[in-house]
Assembly symmetry: C2
Homo-oligomer: 437 residues x 2
Amino acid sequence: MVPVTAPTALRVALLGCGVVGTQVVRLLTEQSADLAARVGAPLELVGVAVRDASAPRDPAVDRALLTEDAEGLVRRADIVIEVMGGIEPARSLLLSAVAAGASVVTANKALLAEDGPTLYRAADEAGVDVYYEAAVAGAIPIVRPVRESLAGDRVRRVLGILNGTTNYVLDQMTTNGLGLDDAVRQAQALGYAEADPTADVEGFDAAAKAAILASLAFHTRVRIDDVSREGISSVTADDVAWAAQTGHVIKLLAICEVTDEGVSARVHPALVPSGHPLATVRGAFNAVFVEADAAGELMFYGRGAGGAPTASAVLGDVVSVARHRVLGGKGPAESHYAQLPIASPQEAVTRYQIRLEVDDRPGVLAQVAQLFAERGVSIEAVRQAPRPAAGDGPAGVAHLVITTHDGTETALAATVAAIEGLDAVQTVTSVLRVEGA
Amino acid sequence: MVPVTAPTALRVALLGCGVVGTQVVRLLTEQSADLAARVGAPLELVGVAVRDASAPRDPAVDRALLTEDAEGLVRRADIVIEVMGGIEPARSLLLSAVAAGASVVTANKALLAEDGPTLYRAADEAGVDVYYEAAVAGAIPIVRPVRESLAGDRVRRVLGILNGTTNYVLDQMTTNGLGLDDAVRQAQALGYAEADPTADVEGFDAAAKAAILASLAFHTRVRIDDVSREGISSVTADDVAWAAQTGHVIKLLAICEVTDEGVSARVHPALVPSGHPLATVRGAFNAVFVEADAAGELMFYGRGAGGAPTASAVLGDVVSVARHRVLGGKGPAESHYAQLPIASPQEAVTRYQIRLEVDDRPGVLAQVAQLFAERGVSIEAVRQAPRPAAGDGPAGVAHLVITTHDGTETALAATVAAIEGLDAVQTVTSVLRVEGA
């Protein structure tokens, strides 16, 4: 397949400039060289439609790009990004964009759950893309995996923690024993919950996302009104405590499934067995658990909201729809444009946990610690475990477990070699790296 | 963008017919109608190249399709699926396929980690696709998310549990206290490990996948020889026990990161804090944890090997490359072709956990149980918790927690209503559904 368009700049219009929109502008600017390499053409932000162009803005946003004429803006764009939210005027603007031949990227779950098919049909007729990864579970890639990666499989069931606010609230109730009201107030204080938390707490937000997910997973139109919904407002501290006693945690789940009766989607609080991968989803994180015939169980986990995570998902979609315009859909197979140097394994920064057996007499720990200090490696913790004398000499044996702070592989390995050379050290039993801390 | 090809059938050739290949044939056959709807054209399997066409095969494979002439087969295909493995003849066959204008889907991690760029460059020159979701982490969509969903973001670090065999072995050592050799023997008995487990145990398999992931994440060519590698053969039961004592679990991790020094990729056993999402990855499952600038932390979890899971990933890629040929890359936005009925929420099958306060006297539990039985709802467990008398009457109060087996929402709700009507029942304190069990 050969490029169908010369790689001139693609004109990008942004509708909305709140928390997400501002981060979209920032990424489009900061990553412009990488984006151009990935797309095969530069992306040019030609305007940002806002309700009030004179309102204060983040300095990342060039005020010269602001316009209150959204309708005019969408008609001079190749790609329209919509992060304004709500049904109107978002719907009309996106339909205008599509009619004018633009591809659309939207994060608008309310619109898609209410009336997505109108937009999808218009896009199909116009032969343009509508992408909406950011509308479900924020930064978590879930639309693309369900729509594309599982396109050769049959999805049976999707269980999702799709609302970070309620997950934070339930997690606080579980781990700190808070009551619902206190947990909601804490979420508000941290900016996880709105002043009016109804959309989150009563499950409306999760229901909109469930409608979109069910539609995708089962190739069937599911609207928000088709989703049965129950929020967390009746969950008590007592419920949470009893859940723990019976080996469960309470989560607000979106459940989409296909059975002999058809497709169903529902949102309600549920007891999840504590060994289930969804039970470990903490704080304001989201996760989507998918059961497919051939793939088996899959889970996707990450940040479901927030400016930068949502903008990341939006930009991924922008690159996809832009590639379609430049390359007829084909991404470059050889995407090795960055060609960064390969770092030596010796430069890798890691932490060590070292177990060693030393003579059980005063001063040994000081000698060992000195060897770390000489090589600039700092010690995070030392544990001394009593151990029966090995019977191989008059002195007892002490078992030390030393965990370091970060250091280069070279410095850490040199330290271990020096320790092995100490008279007082009988054996270095084990050296393991610590990762993910 | 308009279709550039008429929707005539696309000719699909399969190279290799082992465990994965057989499942690919099965899915191509069983899902043919769905696949045609998703692609916009039927997929026709035109041949299956095998070393010995007379060897016994699974009945899912039509013997008339078998051929020993792989070179001839790839020249008469639009899409070539390669699941034979190894460097040659896979590389030559795929280069022939690409030169003849076919798109390629491969699960061959060894080839891609050794010499992927040769294939990618040939595909770019020929203007065809090379997709390889199945080459890393089996059924887990990770190539597509890293290559597409995160295309507008900067990946900083990837931590992966990429080898199910070693994860199973380490998990058995952790949860059942087995020594390494016993755990490996158990993995062999269950078919998770080969008779010669070297490729898994010594980290070669994980290193190949790490090379592919690092190349993708950092847009830089990373070969298997660039990956520093240490297997799990020196991990002892004692190490595992000590890890637990210090709040860690031992995992064989692939670590790909970009620092000021460049890109590095390494595979080694590591202590992972037990609160980290990767620590909860059990058995033969795989998981990939990604840290990106804007998206933050993401994790992808699922089956990393096996015939059906790997075939699911292969078929997802087949649909993508087939769409590119039919629609110039654009997937139909309106993918609602299945249009299954929306089931009534009353038909949903779930389980209830019901807490209630009842008079503390003989016979009450029997009355309650009778109401369940009359509605066909079976009880999984009843716990009775002593609770101080509420002080509102002479009789003591018993607190019951009843968990049901599966039942329809209608039957379960009707049972609860009937229970509420019993004289001996003072309050139904809470009704919660149980999911994911």
